[in-house]
Symmetry: C2
Subunit: 169 residues, 2 copies
């Protein structure tokens, strides 16, 4: 199967999680030197004595053509990824519940935009583009098994042919 | 008073909080495509029915010469700032407890490095350099008054004269 990514939007991503980005209604603080774009994600990290943690994921791009073979979900928590650099990246998701490969959606995300996968949303692991890229990750430490993985019966090849502009450095 | 910033290090920053950066001992995950630099900050966000939240702070550089007039602290929580772009920034801190201007330390921080102020650490608000810059902020929503501010009797002028290399785009 071949999929082309589409630019992410908060509306399209709503079934899967939160798009973490600046908006049109910030709060002016710090004598006007800071715009606070407030409370942008539904963090869900405290189940079963969970605690929120921050990590950095250093992601190496997959070889071209990018091929997706697995998806994962976290049944006990959300997981947020925020890029720390100036490269775009890919996000592949499918709805929570029983995994359905026919419902996989593929997005391209600009630097400056983060994503927060809601609890149970199926997603591919970090998919950097163009260069090794660091992501700030907000997830959970705690009891219980918090990662399920499925192997795709039919791998997905990513068609990046119309993404030259988005993926250019 | 004139202060020159010094490059931040985890060791020097320990009395004030956590330096959030990649280290030498990551965990290899995702079939080797991701290095997980795990659990890099002591988040302290749950006091008085607090909940962790994420926001984006869009920070405008202060006019040159950069002059510091105020410091603040959060008595109920930590507060983390992670740059989302490729510019350095300044961090001014003083130890928790009764405010002592003679103990202010000034650091310059590279892109790719975040800071997590521990509960009660005095700090200046977000100090972008070179360009308007976005920071991912992890702090607390909840009951209680969680911000104290002091005005410096003697403003601090920041001497950036030796920071050309660090502050260059």
């Amino acid at each position: 199967m071949i999929l082309k990514p589409v630019p992410i939007s908060a509306e399209q991503f709503t079934p899967f999680g939160d798009l973490i980005e600046t908006g049109s209604d910030p709060i002016a603080i710090n004598y006007g030197y800071t715009e606070r774009h407030h409370d942008l994600a539904s963090l869900d990290l405290l189940e079963q004595e969970g605690r929120p943690i921050v990590s950095i994921f250093r992601s190496t791009p997959l070889p071209q053509p990018v091929t997706l073979n697995v998806m994962e979900r976290h049944p006990l928590s959300s997981q947020a990824f925020i890029p720390m650099g100036n490269q775009p990246y890919l996000v592949a998701v499918a709805p929570a519940g029983e995994f359905d490969a026919s419902k996989i959606r593929l997005f391209i995300v600009k630097p400056g935009q983060g994503v927060n996968y809601h609890r149970g949303t199926w997603h591919h692991f970090c998919l950097a583009l163009n260069a090794v890229s660091d992501f700030l990750v907000i997830d959970r430490s705690g009891k219980g098994d918090n990662c399920d993985e499925v192997t795709l019966v039919e791998p997905i090849t990513v068609d990046l042919s119309d993404c030259e502009e988005s993926t250019a450095r």
